[in-house]
């Protein structure tokens, strides 16, 4: 007898369909539900967690969660000290990853992260139709049809939170015989071996870090030099540090800058034929083992055929400031793929959208954007007393986790209409404020320049005119002092006219 299918969201028509049950999908669904937007969530997986159900391959994350921090766990300010938990609005839904950490290190292990995400789905009641694989997509009337292994879903707007998880290899002759990062074995499997890792990004250095204690020698090869100055302030430094230090001191590990021409099989393993970039010249490397740590792409299936343009050599969907496909309106992205909505890249600094810490806020704003654009749910605007404005903004600059995590990407906006009085317009993408906003308003953001100096940046819009102002850095990042208040007061006065 066929079992009764008790899974939620049977195929049919829904205002919104969310694909994916990793952190991006869970956060988007949670936020849509809080806004009262009916939607279905489908996932090919059989449990929540997305990529954290298997990766990082060596089981340790890059991003911190500090179980004890200068502020109380579970508060909004605590989110800055906890880069891995999803955002809940009720007690019991917040700071969940911290709860599972054994404090071996301040970055959680993969199982701790997975447990934290599963606890969020469970406690916040995020329903997902698991075991339902999205297979194809078409445009119909004023919406979309998503065909899945269970049947067709019709919707006005679709949110793809499908990760950046498809193994990608560069078109190098012979690379088809080289296993990808996802096929890497245990570190002890490389005992006594000479290993060539193709790629010098996160995943390349992660496996090098794991192998250095076992392998005879590790060589990392890719055309791009490692930018040591960028590394110093990068979140991935914890993985780069050991192998890169070994390289810098000439300890046997090499991070080589070379474009690989071809890879040949030999009786003992591989021969990598390459041309140096930083130091020009031919290179031939013999290796027992080679691994392609050449990255991942978003599994977009047929979305490019539907017209969704991509960036990074096809790896990521191009997006607007509101994470909508740059070329197909109504298709949205959440999670790791939102890194392709680059924002201003001020001083070359990108967003934090490739990590949970950044994209959890994007998901919250995306839900509000979809609610407003497709369903006419305008976000509530809280009136602020004239005397409240400056203390509110200095407090936001000092503690708002959105501004600290998504530097020069997300901003707190206060409307400065002289008749209606000041209003809190919420957190917004800074680029959207600058390019699409209307009316007198002040946006404040936390920014970091190329010298890694952190400072408040203030953007005043009066009519059509935009004015940018910077505040000086403060050693304890405390912007609730007279100098900062005076600088903000001056702009608020100008905005209110």
């Amino acid at each position: 007898m066929a079992e009764l299918d008790e899974r939620p969201f049977p195929p049919g028509e829904y205002p919104v369909v969310v694909v994916g049950s990793g952190p991006g999908g869970l956060q988007t669904s949670y936020c849509l539900k809080r806004l009262g937007i009916e939607h279905a969530v489908v996932s090919q997986d059989d449990s929540p967690g997305g990529m954290f159900r298997k990766w990082p391959i060596y089981q340790r994350l890059l991003s911190w969660t500090k179980p004890d921090a200068p502020v109380e766990r579970g508060t909004r300010a605590y989110e800055w000290y906890d880069h891995n938990s999803l955002l809940g609005e009720e007690t019991g839904e917040q700071a969940l990853v911290a709860e599972f950490m054994d404090r071996t290190w301040m970055v959680p292990s993969r199982p701790e992260m997975e447990q934290g995400l599963a606890a969020f789905a469970d406690r916040a009641g995020v329903a997902v139709r698991y075991g339902c694989r999205w297979e194809s997509t078409r445009q119909e009337d004023d919406g979309f049809v998503l065909v899945t292994s269970d049947g067709a879903y019709r919707c006005k707007a679709a949110v793809f939170a499908i990760g950046v998880t498809d193994p990608m290899k560069m078109p190098i002759p012979g690379i088809e015989d080289v296993p990808h990062y996802v096929e890497t074995g245990r570190p002890r499997d490389y005992e006594g071996k000479r290993v060539v890792v193709i790629g010098k990004r996160n995943s390349g250095f992660e496996i090098a870090d794991g192998m250095v204690p076992w392998a005879r020698q590790v060589l990392l090869v890719s055309p791009r030099p490692v930018a040591a100055d960028v590394l110093a302030t990068s979140t991935v430094r914890v993985r780069y540090l050991q192998p890169y230090e070994d390289h810098s001191w000439g300890g046997g590990t090499f991070a080589l800058d070379a474009a690989i021409e071809r890879i040949e099989r030999t009786s003992g393993g591989y021969r990598i034929v390459a041309n140096g970039t930083t130091y020009p010249g031919a290179l031939e490397l013999e290796a027992d083992v080679a691994i392609a740590a050449t990255g991942f792409r978003t599994p977009l299936l047929d979305l490019p055929d539907l017209g969704c343009s991509t960036v990074k050599q096809g790896a990521l969907p191009a997006q607007t400031h509101h994470w909508e496909s740059a070329t197909v309106p109504g298709i949205y992205f959440a999670g790791n793929a939102t890194q392709a909505a680059a924002g201003l890249r001020k001083h070359g600094v990108g967003s934090a959208s490739a990590a949970v810490s950044g994209f959890r806020y994007n998901a919250r704003l995306l839900a509000a954007h979809i609610a407003a654009k497709h369903f006419g749910h305008a976000a509530p605007r809280r009136g602020l007393g004239r005397d409240e404005v400056v203390p509110f903004l200095t407090a936001e600059l000092t503690r708002a986790p959105e501004l600290w995590t998504q530097k020069s990407y997300l901003a707190r906006v206060v409307g400065l209409d002289s008749e209606a009085g000041p209003t809190d317009e919420g957190i917004q993408p800074l680029a959207a404020f600058l390019d699409e906003g209307e009316g007198n308003a002040l946006a404040v953001a936390v920014e970091m320049d190329d010298q890694a100096r952190i400072y408040p940046a203030l953007y005043l819009r009066v009519g059509e005119e935009l004015h940018e102002d910077h505040c000086p850095p403060q050693p304890l990042h405390d912007f609730e002092t007279d100098g900062y208040r005076a600088q903000l007061e001056d702009l608020v006065k100008r905005g209110l006219g």
């Binding site: 560069m170 078109p171 343009s309 607007t320 740059a326 070329t327 201003l344 001020k346 070359g348 940018e468």
Partner: protein
């Protein structure tokens, strides 16, 4: 998997990078991100600090000064270099006229990149000289 090869050949076809050999082109493709900007959106914003340099790979952009379009930029042309090298905010907006695909050279990396690749610096200088010549011809 041919897309990666595509970006390298796209770069090879641009005057700015025409003197780089294959490994150097691969280095450029691996170092700098691509960005797609929807039609109508700004890429460079007049008066705002901390901007970057953009090389157009596909599409058209308009140079907009105080709300008025003054010039059209096309594939192979680049913008933002004056602002980055002079350390001053851009003096005009650059707006995507079509869906625009660009290579982004982060502002703080431009000097180092040009010094490491004098061939690119020379091509950039030549382009700026052509622009100057056009401006002088227009003034006279």
């Amino acid at each position: 998997m041919s897309v990666d090869a595509d970006i390298v050949s796209t770069l090879a076809g641009l005057r700015l990078f025409s003197d780089l050999d294959r490994p150097e082109l691969e280095e450029v493709a691996h170092t700098f991100d691509e960005e797609v900007i929807p039609a109508g959106q700004r890429v460079l914003r007049q008066g705002l600090s901390g901007s970057n340099v953009y090389v157009i790979l596909e599409g058209e952009a308009g140079l907009v000064l105080n709300g008025e379009e003054r010039a059209t930029l096309q594939r192979g042309e680049f913008f933002g270099e004056l602002s980055v090298l002079l350390g001053e905010p851009p003096t005009s907006d650059i707006v995507a006229k079509t869906t625009l695909r660009c290579l982004v050279i982060p502002g703080p990396q431009l000097r180092g990149f040009l010094l490491a690749h004098p061939e690119v610096m020379l091509q950039m200088l030549l382009s700026v000289m052509w622009r100057l010549r056009t401006t002088l011809a227009w003034l006279s």
